[in-house]
């Protein structure tokens, strides 16, 4: 579990985002146990209070479920998991569009470049 944090966004939200990414890319799956708050704080090198706050946030967003005296688990609700993935894709695309729009590239060219780059990057990573 390795994440780098920026100093200007609340750390607990960055932790939540990290979990969403792990769900989206399939590293975390429905019903999977996640580390305790203490373990998370220690591995991510954050304040245990922050880990606590991140878990609370994820519980409120129904990303994880916690039963008394059991480790927290990723939700089994496929709708939520699906929406996490969509949400991440959409926000990423939106921020991409925001930076590309001023350059005014025709959509066909843009898509071609994206396709080339994306598959090249993926093959480099051995995917």
């Amino acid at each position: 579990m390795n994440a780098t944090f920026n100093n200007r966004d609340p750390v607990y939200l960055q932790v939540v985002r990290y979990f969403k990414e792990q769900i989206a890319n399939g590293n975390l799956v429905a019903g999977q146990e996640i580390p305790s708050r203490r373990e998370l704080a220690a591995t991510m090198k954050i304040n245990p209070n922050t880990a606590q706050k991140a878990y609370k946030e994820m519980e409120e967003q129904d990303l994880i479920t916690t039963e008394r005296n059991y480790p927290s688990k990723i939700t089994k609700n496929e709708n939520i998991l699906q929406s996490v993935r969509e949400e991440l894709i959409i926000t990423a695309v939106e921020s991409f569009l925001q930076s590309i729009r001023p350059i005014n590239v025709p959509i066909d060219e843009l898509l071609r470049i994206v396709q080339e780059k994306y598959s090249k990057e993926s093959s480099k990573e051995g995917l």
């Binding site: 944090f5 920026n6 100093n7 200007r8 966004d9 609340p10 750390v11 607990y12 939200l13 203490r38 704080a41 220690a42 991510m44 090198k45 954050i46 304040n47 245990p48 209070n49 922050t50 706050k53």
Partner: protein, 229 residues
């Protein structure tokens, strides 16, 4: 909760602390930051009853400092507090002899955590390992509060990382921590609360996560605003 109220301290005619007030909660890491001056260390010493002050009051969970408080609050100064000729083992024995709340199990765990050998002599430790031993002596007492004076100053990067890791670990548990520092790079993610001191007064006190959420500012951003205007 540690409550510092209107703390005022003079050295000769110069006011080192001029009405400093803040609180530090249990279960939180509070960071006293000052660009210059001796106010930070003096504040910690005043809390520990290691220096007198001319005005103000300090309460720890509602009580003034007394001998029993030393089982409840540990101070980790910027200098080693054990005799140079002692081995780490002897130093731990000394602590065990005098502190009822000494927790040898945790001391051993910390030794492993810091990769230190109990047979080493205090005088042979590097600056970084000295800081770790200091921290060990404080953390291995079952105290509620830990005050650390410049734990990161003048030590190597790996020791700094290890010390910062302690703050994220169960070794701190739900104790209250006050750290003084003049640079916060190593611990920016770890601290709950920041108190900016300058020339003996508190310029600003804020909660780090709240500051990020509400104003989108990092601790360094706020420091820049406050200290550089």
């Amino acid at each position: 909760m540690i409550e510092v109220n209107q703390l005022t301290k003079k050295f000769g005619r110069k006011k080192v602390l001029d009405g400093v007030s803040f609180t530090a909660n249990k279960g939180e890491i509070t960071c006293l930051i000052g660009i210059n001056g001796v106010g930070k260390t003096t504040t910690l010493k005043a809390i520990m009853g290691l220096t007198s002050f001319s005005k103000g009051s300090i309460l720890i969970d509602g009580q003034k400092i007394n001998k029993n408080m030393y089982e409840k609050v540990a101070f980790i100064p910027d200098a080693i507090t054990m005799l140079p000729q002692m081995t780490i083992k002897q130093a731990m024995q000394f602590m065990q002899d005098f502190y009822q709340n000494w927790n040898q199990e945790r001391a051993t765990e910390l030794l492993t955590f810091f990769k230190l050998d109990e047979k080493s002599r205090i005088s042979e430790l590097s600056k970084g390992n000295t800081a770790k031993i200091n921290l060990l002596m404080g953390l291995a007492i079952d105290v509620d509060y830990i005050l650390m004076d410049e734990p990161f100053s003048g030590i190597d990067i790996f020791s700094r990382e290890q010390i910062a890791d302690v703050f994220a670990s169960h070794l701190i548990e739900d104790r209250g921590v006050i750290i003084t520092t003049h640079e916060i790079n190593d611990i920016e993610h770890l601290i709950d609360k920041v108190i900016l001191l300058d020339n003996g007064i508190v310029l600003k006190e804020f909660n780090t996560e709240q500051m990020r959420q509400e104003e989108g500012k990092s601790v360094v951003d706020v420091m820049r605003e406050v200290y550089q205007g």
